[in-house]
Symmetry: C2
Subunit: 205 residues, 2 copies
DNA sequence: TTGACAAGTGAACGCCCGTTCCCTACAATG
DNA sequence: CATTGTAGGGAACGGGCGTTCACTTGTCAA
């Protein structure tokens, strides 16, 4: 009866753990949100901690499959406009995809308690983004789209502010529109600063 | 008998809440770490939640007193070297001061559960730093130390990457030295990019 | 010296937690 | 049709939780 129960439990756990944390969530609440009785859960997981571990396994696998290997690297843009578009599309996805948002919140909450969460948090928030954009920027420098510079440093200077605003969206979703606008303004400022100006250039202040 | 007990309880609560979260901390453990018995705590706070609220009150007041008002703004540096030095000193403090670190971890963990924690988190991690550096950069542009640009955007582009690495130090303290080195490299890169080069200039790649 | 009060103790309370056990209902297998 | 295995339900468990209460002790003002 109902084969996908295990997956439904994991989804509910992600939902609650990402809001109230592991310790702040109890099995009764979790199973009740699925219209079950608490004892039924133990047909699918041997303990609450087993749910946590499965959730983390799944999150690690998901990250590895989507961002972990060199094959998933985005193509090197052919123009600065394409960098702009590609960035905004990526940000849009990561800010609006419910599951990705919840995983980020989960890692944020649990990073100080669980070593694997800690590791994955650093990838999600910092090194993963850098590793994604460094080769892109290196390629763009080769194509003469960006001023020659250290691609890794540029990737860090590019992704860290964007990551900070993604965190803001997670924390205060009502500010999402403002944050997206600020991300776009930042991207444009970055392009103005580091892009090679083939046509006119805009400046501010 | 022992007057500072209330403060010692708050310190212990900050310690444990910042590691295990509010829900993951119990009164027995908290009071035991002070060599007390759990019931004694109730002479000083009426409930566990009252401890949490006091801790947050204190953190908010602390932030307001140290970073909240215009009088605490750092002076406008007279040179790019001074910006470098001032930044590194500030980062050094914020990464190594135990109490500040714990407050940051606390806000990170509890931001999705408590509205006041959420607000303070945004100040700590994002807007506070921006608001601190925007007038500094405006002043430096007036002095001709930085290229004319939008000071708020520059402050954001400067502080967000630094903030990201401070978070890394909180998460993985064993990487503190590497993170500090990366912050310094970033500061130097930023100065190279936006500073007006009165003498020679260095470039990389 | 005494009385009031603040600080700390130890035992107990009721509740909720994660977990177990046993029973039922159904689906698939032979 | 009988059998077996699986998903779910209901009741109960031991233990840990936050909290209360009656009691002792030390401090200080009157």
């Amino acid at each position: 009866m109902a084969k996908g129960t295990k997956e439904r439990i994991l989804a509910a756990a992600l939902d609650l753990f990402s809001q109230n944390g592991y310790a702040g969530t109890n099995i009764r609440e979790l199973t009740a949100s699925l219209g079950m009785v608490k004892s039924s859960m133990y047909k699918h997981f041997e303990s609450k901690e087993a749910i946590w571990n499965s959730l983390l396994d799944e999150s690690i696998a998901y990250y590895g499959a989507h961002f972990g290997s060199p094959e998933q690297l985005p193509p090197v843009p052919e123009s600065l406009e394409e960098l702009h578009a590609m960035t905004m599309q990526l940000v849009n996805f990561t800010v609006h995809d419910e599951k990705v948002v919840k995983v980020r919140k989960l890692l944020t909450i649990e990073q100080f308690r669980d070593g694997r969460a800690r590791e994955l948090a650093t990838k999600h928030f910092l090194t993963g983004l850098e590793g994604m954009f460094a080769p892109v920027f290196a390629g763009m420098m080769d194509k003469g789209l960006l001023r020659p510079d250290d691609p890794a440093m540029l990737a860090f200077a590019y992704t860290a502010p964007i990551s900070a605003l993604i965190h803001l969206c997670d924390r205060e979703p009502e500010k999402t529109d403002a944050a997206m606008a600020q991300i776009e303004a930042f991207v444009e400022h970055f392009i103005r600063t580091y892009g090679t100006d083939r046509k006119r250039e805009g400046s501010s202040r």
